[in-house]
Symmetry: C4
């Protein structure tokens, strides 16, 4: 049984760019995409489900069940924007490959030529102003984005990117889809949601996208998101304990 994408609205997009942010270190990517979707009032048009997610449903306060999934949202503009966010990442290594392949295939059908993935980079220590690190799947992307305040390996060596944020770039390359991964430096505790790192990434992202974003609600928004994030993080942990695993795998870079 394979992961599947349910398209609820067929959209025609103009020169679309894909922004991905899923749960991971500091929840940086997830928080950043969640804030974008809310503030820009983006519209959901597709959902990805996978047997590689935990086999459970969340129950919302209105008593409705919600199967863990990833969601694609879009917004029309000078350049159309697609944002991919979600509840979780794969709980198996094979699942990461399958899910990221499905996403890249879907991106191709949408006409996407560029992907920006968002994540956190844990330095194991606190810092006053988080840097934004980056990796690319095509050297041209460095030229294109070097005018922004991004560290392309000068001060920080990324080394590796675990999970969707890295694999999406790698699997997109043979499809001629350019990709850049923006990693917000977080202050050590990988399981704590880090608003500062998300803020740092978003400030660069709005410049790249040429959009306006009200940042005043970010902290408040994170507090609200935390509720839901905590619930599913707790679930991951509990479920994995039940499945015999001892550590929770929700510690991707992004």
């Amino acid at each position: 049984m394979e992961s599947w994408i349910h398209v609820s609205e067929k959209v025609k997009l103009k020169n679309p760019i894909l922004i991905e942010g899923l749960p991971g270190i500091g929840n940086v990517g997830r928080v950043a995409t969640g804030y974008l979707i809310n503030q820009l009032k983006m519209k959901k048009f597709a959902e990805l489900y996978s047997p590689h997610f935990l086999p459970l449903v969340l129950v919302h306060e209105n008593s409705e069940v919600h199967v863990l999934n990833l969601e694609f949202h879009y917004m029309k503009g000078k350049r159309d924007i697609v944002v991919l966010t979600g509840d979780t990442q794969s709980i198996s290594p094979e699942g990461h490959y399958e899910i990221c392949s499905k996403i890249v295939e879907f991106a191709e059908t949408l006409g996407i030529k560029e992907i920006i993935t968002l994540g956190g980079f844990s330095e194991g220590k606190s810092m006053s102003k988080p840097a934004v690190l980056a990796a690319v799947n095509n050297k041209e992307m460095i030229k294109k984005y070097k005018k922004f305040d991004i560290d392309f390996g000068k001060k920080h060596q990324v080394g590796t990117i675990i999970g969707a944020s890295g694999l999406l770039l790698g699997l997109a390359k043979p499809k001629k889809i350019d990709g850049i991964c923006l990693l917000g430096e977080t202050s050590g505790m990988p399981m704590l949601t880090d608003p500062n790192a998300a803020d740092a990434i978003l400030h660069i992202l709005v410049k790249i996208l040429g959009i306006k974003l009200d940042f005043t609600m970010l902290e408040k928004s994170i507090v609200e998101m935390q509720e839901r994030i905590k619930k599913s993080d707790g679930l991951h942990k509990r479920m994995l304990e039940q499945l015999g695993a001892k550590e929770e795998p929700v510690r991707y870079i992004g």
Copy 2:
């Protein structure tokens, strides 16, 4: 290799409803469906086998082997009733998705438009009279069933439902099959079969189904079922130890 359903009798059903109850917390769902099947003398017409079940056979007292499976039973009435019960749930996360997808597909072919899943909800403490909590996959179901003594999140927040009882509702939704999950509050020990929680659920279920049920045999019936349940619970534990896992996964909500 995929899970498969063996249909032993082709049945034509009138406006059928599916009731699911598998092993889980307090064995509430399993005990409730087992009692229904016995008391109502329902007839088995299909079996589901899966490579995601433990690779073993039970040996009955008459020396016959029994491959772990799930069983579909039916009963004719004003509204035909299908009951799904079984020995086990998937031992892998992917398996849950595959098995629940097969069940939903099979339900579709039977013309089923509504699913009621049964399970337990562990509060971690004892109570005098167990409440029945619920989650739905369609808000209309709350309207339909609010007249019964069901707590739709007023006193107890369900949060999540792990395993078949939750996933069935989630996967049934895009097929336009309405679903409600009834969870009987159990008093803390998730591995102990809880007759009170099963009794509480069954009292609501008979009202929903408009059927009559003799409750006097429930306790006695549970004592008998316990024999078989204990045997397979012990097996799960032993097998999983052999497979290197340290904790048994038979702790689904339902």
Copy 3:
């Protein structure tokens, strides 16, 4: 990738019966089938390979590599006999189902109508004369075999049979292939090869098959087999340690 069977000789068999014995508790099944094959000079005609076996090769003393496999041997007679033996069993639960399904399908193509599986039954204590217990997939088999010195649940309750010896019977049933599992009582140490249990089973098996067998070499033969068994048992353990598992799964009943 699925398990596959490589047929090296196409055989036409007359009313063939399949005898299965793979590594398991006391190595009873494996030793018994190995002795049959050697003493009766049976001929190998097919091999089963599986991605669910350990990913390694044994290196024989002549420096040739050997991929872990199961082997089908046959012997012509009043009734043709096929014997299935092998190096290992599946290391994953799903693999057991897939491999046993392949075996049953292959048995069907050979025209096999009856399967006898062999294994050990660990009592956790030593005994002077090991009993032979049995389970069947069809009540008729009890009638057919009750004249032999087999305990159909009178003194010992089998309860469950883990792995191929049980699953083969279970999966053969819907194919109308009758099956009986003979379990030789072994004296407690499941990982020690038990010649007495193998001897007890073989004495009943020769009566069932109506063949003659020289038993004088059994002990000696086991000493020789032990070398190879030890090597692959050690491998299982070492490999599984490398794969992060802590206990070796080579403790099937049969």
Copy 4:
């Protein structure tokens, strides 16, 4: 989702031989093939990707991401040579079978009739001059190669070969592809890259291949390779810890 091979250059090869060396004990095979490729300026023409590799990307110093893969390089000569090297091996048992099957199939399409796999053999003690042990998938290979300084089981019994170096030979046999595995004796610490063992293997390999190789850069080259190897070894470890596994599986013989 299956492993896949991406062919970047269609090559026509003359009587080609395949040399395989992947990460494993002492990194003997990987270091030997890496040195061959660099010194002989071989050209990459195909890459193998797999969902059975760790779901991560390496980030090079130039900020470009690299998906873990295996690489096929070739060199024209009297006899064309194909060298298979790579970042990793499968992290699941099933993956080993699938990946090795893909490699053997690909080798067939290239017209390869002989495979030499390279690995390390850990003796658990240090030695002055490492021996080169061997195993074959066809007795004829012993005759062919006994003139070289190879130990075909006289002093050292190999016993088993875990991972690609063994499985490739085993799976190549039914395809009528001859195979020999050369194992360089390493001095005990399986996780330390061992230049002496690689040197010993390479000296025999150049004689077999009838090529010239400058050995003076081997030690220097290994120091350089170590950087990258360390990085991915560390990653394996970290990732596997995250996935709940406690030991890293990068301890194949080759």
